[in-house]
Symmetry: D2
């Protein structure tokens, strides 16, 4: 697999399909015939005796920039349709557009903005949405439009509609809840129609819901953690993308657990967002393949 770092002609193909013999051969042969160089290739079979096959191929193809449509049409006809694939191609010149929703805690929020600024996170951040004013100044320091959408018990539906309107208008590809404290309604996900990544401040499935640090303190666990997952209708129950923990002792209080947990939260969320932005996360059932 060889490639020259030539962004306009670099792309990532992700595939899932019913597992059967010959898929790797078909895809790599197709790419080879088109003169593509494979930069990275990953695959996974969920079940050796049938099941689902997942593949991610990052490749470089001279002239791809001008020939996307014909490339995709050819792939569909020659490989994807015969093999009954769900697939997509992401182009290196078009990073995903990510909305950040945040309430008042700044740690995950700032960490994401800063990673993007440093070039670690290859996304566009067209807007930040918050239900509080607190983080407006920080967003502006990063040059990102900040939209205040307050939420009260009575107007949740209107607030959500406004959030979705703002995100659709900005052509957002996915949203990140970076310690956004409001619970999204089931309708939200339907109406938004794009992936939503959340960070939950516990090691799921332990301590679902509110106040996980206090619950962890009461249980006397010796590790606390954070989990990043895709949001589904059921609270804190969606496909897990990344998790990590940190050891704690009897000396901790709920406050110090919260402090220690912050570092885990921001590392875990950043890892999950980066994986999603790079098309390395594929969902099946309520689980993920993370290449």
């Amino acid at each position: 697999m060889t490639a020259v770092p030539d962004v306009p002609n670099t792309a990532t193909l992700t595939i899932s399909c019913p597992d059967r013999q010959g898929i790797v051969a078909a895809v790599s042969q197709f790419l080879h015939n088109h003169g593509a160089n494979i930069i990275h290739s990953d695959q996974h079979s969920t079940d050796p005796e049938g099941g689902t096959f997942f593949m991610r191929m990052e490749f470089h193809l001279e002239g791809l920039a001008r020939a996307r449509e014909s490339f995709e049409r050819a792939f569909a006809g020659v490989v994807a349709e015969p093999l009954n694939m769900a697939w997509q191609v992401s182009y290196a010149t078009q990073p995903k557009r990510m909305a950040v929703l945040v309430s008042r805690y700044d740690h995950c929020f700032l960490d994401l903005l800063w990673r993007r600024r440093r070039g670690e996170l290859n996304v566009e951040i067209p807007l930040v949405i918050s239900n509080h004013e607190d983080l407006r100044r920080d967003a502006e320091m990063f040059g990102i439009p900040f939209h205040l959408v307050p939420v009260t018990r009575d107007d949740k539906t209107e607030a959500e509609a406004e959030q979705i309107r703002l995100m659709h208008e900005a052509g957002v590809d996915f949203a990140v809840l970076a310690r956004y404290m409001q619970i999204l309604s089931g309708d939200f996900l339907q109406a938004f129609g794009r992936p939503v990544i959340n960070i939950h401040h516990s090691f799921l499935p332990a301590f679902v819901g509110a106040n996980p640090y206090r619950a962890a303190f009461n249980r006397g666990v010796k590790l606390i953690g954070a989990t990043s997952h895709y949001v589904t209708e059921e609270l804190d129950a969606g496909p897990i993308i990344a998790q990590d923990v940190v050891p704690v002792t009897h000396r901790e209080t709920p406050d110090t657990l919260m402090r220690l947990g912050r570092d885990v939260e921001r590392q875990v969320l950043a890892r999950a967002v980066k994986a999603h932005a790079e098309d390395r996360v594929l969902v099946y059932g309520n689980k993920t393949v993370v290449f």
Copy 2:
């Protein structure tokens, strides 16, 4: 704090009492007046505004071997009673006597026996009790009496009574369930009257009960763990002593999770047992202080 490693005159004092000013002074002054050298000293307050105070002092006292009774009587009168302490003294010449209960999985069981043989774990193991024959030969290779006590749904009460009889007879100070697969009845704990340490093959409070590796597989967690805790009436709910995790990916199956988990289980159980054997674990409420 200075001490000469002189085992007959070395002891560990553990204390818990209502927190108040002056406890450290009282205890250290008492020891100083008796000519004791403090080797290690640890303390913990559960709540800066009152609460419970815990202390562990390892000390050396010339002549202690011959004067235990008078030492303990003096301590009781001068310090413990005025300060309303629960306390005990463990003597280095008398390691705790530990029973091991195991079913068919050998990994935790062998790990404990081997650590003791190597001198890492300072306990006596007067007996092994199992509901299967599988591990008899291994126990005998370590020179430890093996007792088969089969358990069926109908005779659980008799089986438990036999286990307790064997352990009381052997003067056992605590029992370790080293992947012992039978659930102990509430009566057992009452009748046994000593601490029981269990290893549960998940990161509690996640995946309580049976088949936690399969449950972890289904949830798609990215870390699996093991938890060692004191057994209480409620299953997998007792005070946690030690926990650890290992990262896993989408490539794992329930079988490989079980394999990866075994290494975590034996490390965690060994850590908990060693802490208990060294009087470094103090229980309050449903939590532990682990010095």
Copy 3:
């Protein structure tokens, strides 16, 4: 140990002295006699058969705010001098004043400023000194005076003199090299006369000096790390305060190692700086006790 969180009357006493019997008793008795409540107490003996004894006691003493001098004089006379102690008292109302030196990499620098802003790091940051302009705007966004002190091979002595002048003028208690890329001369440490904490981007003592990520890449290690230590005359050889690692695979390049390493660097530096700020680090020989 009981205390009311009453900052004006809270202090931390740190001690080191030749180990001998009776030190804990003497110190706790002194505090008790003065009506102090001990909040936290930690001690360590470097050698059970003699050696050095270290202690850290955080306490609350009604009226301390007005009686510091007499308290310290009493302690000196009654305890410290007879026991030949090196000691100091830090008062909760006077957080340490920390200078940050940084070159162009912003990750450790920003992480420290954020933590302080969030209240996690209890220090004053009176100034930032840099040999480049890059981070001026970031410092100003945090409201911290930024001083550009360029360094070239010819004027290192003048540059260092200027840095020291600035820091002495600002009453700085310690300096942090947050990926400050210039090597400090031996004279600097003498002239500055305060502790200097550095973050080195490898797991010392491996990969001392320049380009540790490239060296790690060439050696093919499967973990990379970061080390925070006190600066001494010998490069990267001073007492280690904190270290951590992250696993890496054959897939990494020197660039991705650098990216992965950044997260470790900032966590490790923050941990070390926080420990120092809280008087939890005591140096002996070329090593540290970190309570």
Copy 4:
């Protein structure tokens, strides 16, 4: 990729060759044409702009058991020679034969024997070689022939010749130094002609050579580790396969570091040996790709 777990017809193909376009296609097409099902596929390019390409394909092929020669001949002619590949096929029915060399420490040695007994490690262990008698009984309890080959400064050459003779006679595929304390001569590796895996009780490249725990203690590191690597002529300098660390504090002594380090050593060695046994380790330069 689909496969039926049918051991006689399962094999693993490992490849390295100059990187170029079309390799994945060529190999997967070849396998597909022969009716093989790919179970697992991993690849790695050392350099996107040329360099070396590595691949490991685990596959199932009906009738392979009877047709190995023709399969290999076909692969050589159609794929390997045109693409200038170094390659080999391992057959699932023929686990590698592993010799264990050990001195007096039993922890790594016992851990390997247990794992094999439990079915975790798919190797044959035809013999154990030791320069001391201590572990004979343990080897015999596992039913493995134990050979005492004493080594003194004068007779090292003869001792090594005897070790190699024993291993060649037993058809050993690789040797594991499981805390074997003698340093092998450069001639040994030449004469043995097979891979040798060592466990070094430090985090290389720190603390090469003897007494790494004491060296770690003196340096005051806050993590200790272990490294498993292929043995080369230069001591502790060969390609690293696996590493891990455990945190330590100022409370440790060289003895407790040794105790804590043992658990890391055995985990790391087991991980490396398992990877090698499963053909997941490919060497290039002085580094490894570990699939």
